[in-house]
């Protein structure tokens, strides 16, 4: 599998990282080099192997339903680049 620049552009857009036209070739080349190296995995026989998502040999612990948090608007907004009237703000989104 070899990536072309259009795919890298699409991936960068999915990841919301601006990639300049100048840098696109470089990124494509680099990703191909890494993915080429990763390709070795295909040689490992994994027939019948269950995929492993976590090493923690446990199941999900569940908490009781109680209000134990919130009421910390100041903390929630403390680092916001542009908080206004208790809200976060972003450039206007047109729906």
């Amino acid at each position: 599998m070899s990536l072309d620049t259009a795919t890298v552009r699409r991936i960068a857009s999915l990841a919301r990282i601006k990639v300049s036209d100048d840098a696109l070739d470089h990124w494509t080349q680099e990703m191909n080099s890494i993915l080429g190296w990763i390709e070795q995995l295909q040689q490992v026989n994994t027939d019948g192997v269950e995929p492993m998502s976590s090493v923690a040999n446990m199941t999900l612990r569940q908490r009781e339903d109680a209000i134990t948090d919130g009421g910390i608007q100041d903390k929630v907004l403390a680092n916001a680049p542009d908080a206004t009237a208790g809200f976060y703000t972003v450039p206007k989104v047109v729906e």
Partner: protein
């Protein structure tokens, strides 16, 4: 009192308890070291005033007989642990001005045990890297130099600032986090002890996430006993972390008996591949020390070792691509305006992340994307299962594994530009991360070039006791006392 910073944690605690010196004295001594060795760039943010306040409070507690397990111990905090009121950057431009309103569980435990925080240690951006060369705040340097070096050697990574600080006696110990070797490899490069506990042993709550299924905080110190003492404080169940193990924490300090008679030590044959004769020789030496102490050494096989590295470089970037999606310029961190929301995201993330972080986000996004998930991510999860199975099989035969920590000694900063070459440095540390098992790096000697060499011990899940006990035996036998010149 000129050599207060030479004391181990155990001795420093003894000295405080005996009244030989105060926590303020000790902290001042370390602050002096920090000032003297600023050029190492081991810290991103230094907090000397805070440290002195904490030291004073520590002295008060000790006078009242209320001292905690690490009371008055001046430590460096990897700048990946969120610290309330103290800037936490993850070595990223993205979080350059981020001041958490909360304290990570682990740093909170250390605080509660009386530890004094000297500052926030340098690291690779978002813990992605093996040389600390991916820090927005600049390369941290290894205090060690090889003969004839003109440039600096890397301290390893990602916990490079922590390792450098401890090796240069700019902190009595430090916190690290290990995702694919980020505690063990820098410990090895800097000639100190680093312990990656079993996944789930130390809480991840409040630690800036890199790869959630792999990240694990752990101690970095100058001796095994110090690391054990610090792990006692850091470890423990945390209901705020769903992957935290609800298990009792044994007293790790109590297990360093030196008695390993009858213990079975495995030597994984696959780890010999491509290893330099010098490292092979040290490894052999390690075997002999353990044999001499009454352990039985046997060869074992971990057949999927080679595949583990590529597996790691699928899983870690995949998780990272998702974990780092929250850095979007909306709620905290850098915001670079743009025409509309989408462009603001793209500008912010393009400016906020360095190249290695972008590289991994792009790889991670790709391996999870439609049409590639099965070939990459799912495949990697299956190989991960095989890697874990390899260890489980090995632990049916042996109690602990002995391996090199890294294929080389610390390299010259800037000498490894190619990402894949860089990734290969993790070959001995990554498999244990994938399997979630505990590991420790112990310094054992110097290479011909004068740089430290370390050996790695790997243990059964949640058997840090055996791991540390064997590490203590290696440490004792090696008698590693060398110091980087000028530190």
């Amino acid at each position: 009192m000129s050599n207060l910073t030479d004391l181990t944690m155990a001795d420093a605690l003894h000295g405080l308890e005996s009244g030989d010196f105060s926590a303020v004295d000790l902290t001042r001594a370390y602050i002096g070291k920090m000032e003297a060795h600023k050029s190492l760039n081991a810290y991103i943010t230094e907090t000397p005033e805070l440290a002195l306040q904490q030291a004073e409070a520590s002295d008060t507690r000790r006078r009242k007989g209320e001292a905690g397990a690490m009371d008055g111990m001046p430590i460096a905090m990897k700048d990946l642990f969120c610290t309330e009121g103290v800037r936490t950057t993850a070595a990223s431009h993205m979080l350059e001005n981020f001041v958490p309103t909360y304290e990570s569980t682990v740093s909170g435990k250390l605080k509660a045990a009386g530890a004094v925080m000297l500052g926030k240690a340098n690291l690779d951006e978002f813990a992605m890297g093996g040389a600390n060369s991916n820090s927005y705040f600049g390369q941290a340097a290894n205090p060690w130099k090889a003969a004839g070096d003109t440039g600096v050697r890397v301290p390893g990574g990602s916990s490079g600032g922590s390792a450098a600080a401890v090796a240069a006696h700019m902190a009595i110990a430090a916190t690290g986090t290990d995702t694919g070797g980020s505690i063990r490899q820098p410990a090895s490069y800097c000639g100190i002890v680093g312990v990656k506990p079993t996944y789930g042993r130390c809480s991840r709550w409040g630690v800036v996430a890199f790869a959630s299924s792999l990240d694990q905080p752990g101690p970095m110190a100058r001796t095994v006993a110090d690391a054990a003492l610090m792990l006692n404080v850091m470890a423990g169940f945390d209901p705020k972390d769903s992957t935290s193990a609800d298990m009792a924490v044994p007293d790790f300090s109590a297990v360093l008996t030196g008695d390993i008679r009858g213990l079975k030590v495995g030597i994984p044959r696959e780890y010999r591949e491509g290893v330099s004769p010098e490292i092979l020789a040290v490894w052999q030496q390690g075997e002999e020390w353990l044999r001499a102490a009454g352990a039985e050494v046997v060869e074992v096989s971990l057949p999927n070792t080679r595949a583990a590295l590529a597996t790691y470089y699928i899983i870690a970037p995949a998780e990272a691509s998702s974990n780092l999606a929250r850095y979007d310029g909306v709620r905290y961190g850098l915001r670079v305006p743009g025409d509309g929301l989408a462009e603001m995201y793209e500008n912010t993330r393009a400016a906020g992340f360095g190249n290695e972080v972008k590289r991994r986000i792009l790889i991670g996004t790709y391996v999870l994307s439609a049409g590639y998930y099965d070939a990459y991510y799912l495949k990697a999860q299956k190989v991960r299962a095989l890697v874990a199975r390899d260890f489980a099989e090995a632990y049916k035969q042996v109690d602990v594994l002995l391996t090199p920590t890294a294929p080389t000694t610390a390299f010259v900063a800037g000498s490894q530009e190619d990402p894949v070459t860089m990734y290969l440095n993790d070959v001995f540390t990554v498999p244990a991360s994938l399997a979630g098992i505990p590991g420790a790096a112990v310094p054992v000697g110097l290479a011909a070039n004068g740089l430290p060499l370390g050996l790695q011990l790997l243990g059964r899940p949640f058997d840090e006791e055996t791991l540390l006990r064997v590490a203590g035996v290696i440490e004792e036998a090696a008698g590693f006392t060398a110091r980087p010149e000028g530190f």
